[in-house]
């Protein structure tokens, strides 16, 4: 018995191979610095409440009442809760079998799934079947469940955009599948070129990989672009031609910061295209309560909707979901509230609109301040954040900096981000964690720091970058570049 079961050498290789940069080296170093008393600005995770965004009042009132249902019997409850929150709490409790403390159906409460289906119908103009909607503990769990069903072994490939949100690379790696990259075109505002897709698929097939599914993140993470309807049509046609399941990560659908490219769901475009394609492409769309103007990350609530999935496959997905018993019930109620917020005329309506609008408009301004701030540095180029929560500037690193990184045993963008962290307390994620073309370097920040702190943050970024460039700039230093 020389090797013990949990010795590092004997661990599952898939576990060791998996990488998840959002909480990787930079984050750990930032946490250390924070412990030492340094002020850290965490822009590594799309985690709005951690950066001071206040939760929306109404949903929190409803969920608090569901937590403490005995309050509903107290004659004084109306002194601290508005009547519509009380009514909603009663409504949601009536949808449960035993309140927040009972496991629900493994797919989620039927009543909430019905509300989700109605939301999708309103959004897209096409019917949605609650039986094909599963509630999950956050969208990540849903992605894992679906990929687990699809990936059989390393010969199964999943098309994933590069740059991508590392949930996909990490999960594919954990499940022992193969990630087949397709590159987004930075100079074309992170556009998706179907020719690129074809090439990626052909190359993977020539290596014996069966490409089974394609991931799109719309609006993009980390890249922030909103896909156009024409582009989505091309993608769907491509998936149809190639027999690929389309996994539509649409968790940022509420986060849109311009008017030219609104969010359009893959489901709507698919239905618009009509038969036969609308009956052929298998589509799974993901959504969450963690993003949008809700930002309720800590609740772990989400759903996925399946289109054109055969019932027997859906049953298998149900079976796997049932092993985890049920998603947490309070997050299911948050999801219900998110898809059916207060209506005009409700007591809480005005406040709800004020709060949500305030958050979205501020995010829109912050997206602008950040993009402009990055672009004001000569060695940085940054596409505008059309949607989602991130800015993904390209940092042109001089060869001296790349040399220095090599000497320090770091990837150049990791080296840069660590220096940035030490100098300014800004905790970002290096582009290499998301994937990027060889020889170019990026970092990802969220656009979530408080608006009033934004100018100062961008100022300290610029100051750091200037100093970095004068230290490592080739020959003449940064000022003469």
């Amino acid at each position: 018995m020389s090797l013990k079961a949990l010795d590092y050498e004997s661990l599952n290789e898939n576990v060791k191979n998996c990488q998840y940069a959002v909480r990787g080296e930079l984050y750990l170093r930032a946490s250390e610095l924070q412990k030492e008393g340094k002020k850290i600005i965490f822009t590594n995770v799309g985690n709005p409440h951690a950066l001071g965004q206040k939760p929306l009042t109404f949903p929190r009132q409803v969920v608090a009442l569901c937590q403490a249902p005995f309050l509903l019997d107290n004659p004084n409850v109306g002194m601290i809760f508005p009547a519509d929150a009380i009514a909603r709490a009663k409504h949601y409790l009536s949808l449960t079998s035993g309140g927040l403390g009972a496991y629900s159906d493994s797919r989620g409460l039927p009543g909430v799934r019905k509300e989700v289906a109605e939301f999708i119908e309103r959004r897209d103009g096409y019917p949605s079947d609650p039986e094909l909607i599963f509630l999950t503990d956050g969208a990540s769990k849903g992605v894992m469940q679906i990929l687990n069903c699809i990936i059989r072994d390393q010969k199964d490939g999943i098309l994933v955009p590069v740059p991508q949100y590392p949930l996909y690379s990490a999960t594919i790696s954990l499940l022992g599948g193969t990630l087949v990259p397709y590159y987004l075109e930075e100079t074309d505002n992170w556009g998706l070129d179907v020719n690129n897709l074809r090439q990626s698929v052909a190359q993977a097939r020539s290596q014996g990989i069966t490409v089974r599914a394609m991931v799109i993140i719309n609006p993009g993470n980390p890249t922030g672009q909103c896909l156009s309807e024409a582009n989505l049509r091309e993608i769907l046609r491509f998936c149809c031609d190639e027999s690929l399941v389309l996994l539509g990560d649409e968790v940022y659908q509420q986060n849109i910061y311009q008017d030219e490219h609104p969010f359009i769901s893959s489901k709507k475009v698919l239905m618009d295209m009509g038969a036969p394609i609308s009956k052929e492409v298998q589509l799974i769309s993901f959504h969450t309560v963690s993003k949008g103007y809700w930002g309720e990350c800590g609740q772990r609530g989400g759903y996925f909707e399946m289109t054109n999935i055969p019932p027997r496959t859906a049953e298998e997905i149900y079976k796997v979901a049932s092993i985890a018993l049920s998603p947490n019930v309070s997050a299911q109620i948050f999801m219900g509230l998110m898809v059916s917020p207060p209506k005009p005329g409700d007591i809480s309506y005005d406040q709800f609109v004020r709060e949500s609008k305030g958050i979205l408009e501020s995010l829109r301004r912050r997206a602008r301040i950040m993009t402009d701030g990055f672009n004001s540095c000569k060695n940085v180029v940054c596409n505008f954040t059309e949607g989602a929560m991130y800015s993904f500037p390209q940092i042109k690193l001089p060869s001296k900096a790349i040399q220095a990184a090599k000497q320090a045993g770091k990837v150049p963008d990791v080296f840069y981000c660590l220096k940035l962290l030490e100098a300014t307390g800004i905790s970002t994620v290096p582009g290499s964690g998301f994937g990027q073309k060889e020889g170019v370097f990026h970092l990802r920040t969220t656009i979530l720091p408080a608006e009033e702190e934004m100018p100062e943050i961008m100022g300290s970024f610029k100051k750091f970058n200037d100093e970095f460039m004068s230290q490592y700039g080739d020959n003449f230093g940064y000022s003469r570049m």
């Binding site: 998996c18 939760p55 409850v77 403390g101 990259p181 985890a324 994937g435």
Partner: protein
């Protein structure tokens, strides 16, 4: 990154060629198959080989359909796994429940009683008020600033909510936390473990999870690389283990609990099964012990636990201790002892034994299943391994915050002198003593049935009676293409509206038949349940008498 992507692609192609040689072995499945393939009457101790050689059709032939995801092209490990607690019988029950609404007269019962799952609050158990007060205040923190709140909430719940909020960075209950869980809450849990065991606990050893199940999955993911990696599991077992092992492509190595000695665990049987598995080239990585037992309800004696710890230490096995029922002990002659306490009492430290203890907010007297809260305490792991666990946890970002808060509350409930202490104790003792009463009543009723024997539920939430089925009943089941115990359970459902789970979902000695029934229906329902079960069983026996 690019290099990573391409090297991965390259590696997979290389592996693929390498794999061609192993294909036959790969399809000769070692995956555990609990229910469907067990042969009828066989000697009471099943040989391991039977478990391992249950060949099944695993070839994932390409679909004739153009759809990429169909039943024949999904991951065969997914197809393979079974989870009976929510299987076919529950689906039938849900349909019946729907139909009952409009078709009341068509059935000999007026409601479906779910005894298939340990889900106490769905059967009317009330939550512990203090816990919910704290959670409501943490969810809606603006309440803390209002004077009226003091009239509606207990003082200590308000104090506790403040204390918890101060442990959360930015008081943001809507933010992702550290992937292991909020540090302050882990401190509280560690202190609770220390108070329980009398040995120190380290908050950095604690990983908060969405219920105990994801923690079990995480450990399986870490331990299982292929079907050559085995996990020793009790039979009967809670099917989370068989399902998780199947999903992760490992082998379940069964050891049998002895029904005749109150579901006793024999070290000699463990040794035998371990050696047999090893002789088949299986590298056994861990031992699962469920204490108190699910579905079997036994509480292990401390001496037995010491032997188990020694066995794991000698054999280099990770001890996976499912201790989610630690609060549920109903008999005065038994007490729950954590494996960590037992190991430390033997003088074993970090270097001697790798031990994982699972705990949940879903069980105990609190029964907060819907909150999905739980934790695992991992000890005896090197730091590089712990980093891997952290990484896997981080892919899912974090577990839900109110589940985390609740996990800290159950490990540190009100203390003497606190405002809520008396009412809390009354609620807690009321629930536990009522469960003990229900367990006793049901056990006695089951033992009164012809051909039924039932061990007492010393702990947990279940009874697992054995039913002697007649030849005629078994033949009828075969004709209906179901397992005899599933046949019996479906009959119960159709005749009484009571949902129980067939023993084949948990594994049982071949040729024996059982079902699992929770003790959770509220006390006022128990007499009716006993009557209906008794009446049903009598007519079933009459119908199928040889």
């Amino acid at each position: 990154m690019r290099r990573f992507l391409f090297s991965q692609a390259k590696r997979s192609v290389l592996d693929q060629t390498r794999r061609q040689h192993h294909t036959s072995r790969r399809f000769l499945s070692f995956l555990p198959s609990l229910s469907p393939h067990l042969p009828a009457p066989a000697p009471p101790l099943l040989s391991l080989s039977r478990f391992l050689s249950s060949t099944s059709k695993m070839s994932a032939s390409d679909s004739t359909s153009s759809l990429p995801v169909t039943l024949d092209s999904i991951n065969p490990k997914v197809l393979k796994c079974e989870y009976a607690v929510r299987g076919e019988i529950v689906n039938i029950a849900q349909k019946l429940q729907e139909d009952l609404k409009s078709n009341k007269d068509a059935y000999p019962f007026d409601e479906i009683i779910y005894c298939n799952i340990g889900n106490p609050q769905s059967l009317g158990q009330l939550p512990i008020k203090y816990f919910r007060e704290v959670l409501a205040l943490c969810d809606n923190t603006s309440l803390l600033d209002e004077s009226e709140t003091h009239g509606l909430f207990s003082t200590d719940s308000i104090d506790r909510a403040w204390k918890i909020l101060d442990q959360i960075p930015g008081r943001a209950t809507g933010a992702y936390s550290h992937s292991q869980g909020i540090k302050g809450l882990r401190d509280t849990i560690a202190a609770g473990i220390e108070a329980r065991d009398g040995f120190p606990a380290n908050p950095n050893d604690i990983f908060l999870t969405d219920g105990a199940s994801p923690a079990v999955h995480m450990m399986m993911q870490l331990l299982l690389s292929s079907e050559k990696d085995g996990i020793l599991c009790p039979i009967p077992q809670y099917p989370l283990y068989s399902a998780s092992i199947a999903l992760h492509g490992g082998s379940l190595v069964p050891y049998y609990l002895d029904e005749a000695t109150g579901w006793g665990l024999e070290i000699s049987d463990l040794k035998k099964q371990l050696e047999e598995a090893r002789s088949k080239g299986i590298s056994v990585r861990a031992l699962v012990v469920i204490n108190p037992g699910n579905p079997t309800g036994q509480v292990l004696a401390e001496e037995n636990q010491r032997d188990i710890v020694d066995f794991c230490k000698e054999e280099g096995l990770v001890l996976l201790a499912d201790e989610v029922y630690q609060e549920n002990v109903y008999v005065p002659d038994k007490k729950f002892h954590s494996f960590k306490k037992v190991a430390r009492s033997l003088g074993y430290g970090e270097k001697d034994l790798a031990l994982v203890s699972f705990q949940s907010v879903s069980k105990g007297y609190y029964g907060e299943c819907g909150k999905r809260g739980g934790y695992m305490e991992v000890t005896g792991f090197t730091s590089d391994v712990r980093e891997q666990i952290y990484k896997v946890a981080s892919v899912n970002l974090c577990s839900n915050i109110s589940g985390q808060i609740l996990a800290s509350l159950v490990m540190s409930p009100p203390k003497p002198g606190d405002d809520s202490y008396d009412s809390y104790m009354a609620e807690r003792d009321g629930i536990l003593s009522s469960m003990a009463k229900r367990a006793k009543t049901l056990e006695e009723a089951l033992n009164n049935l012809e051909g039924v024997t039932c061990n007492r539920a010393e702990g947990a939430m279940y009874l697992f009676p054995r039913i002697n089925l007649s030849k005629k009943a078994i033949e009828a089941a075969e004709a209906a293409k179901t397992q005899p115990d599933a046949f019996y359970c479906k009959r119960i459902l159709n005749a009484t509206g009571i949902v129980v789970v067939p023993g084949s979902g948990f594994g049982q000695v071949p040729g024996t038949w059982h079902f699992r029934c929770t003790i959770l229906p509220q006390e006022d329902k128990i007499p009716a349940i006993v009557n209906r079960l008794t009446e049903f069983h009598k007519s079933f026996m009459d119908e199928f008498r040889d």
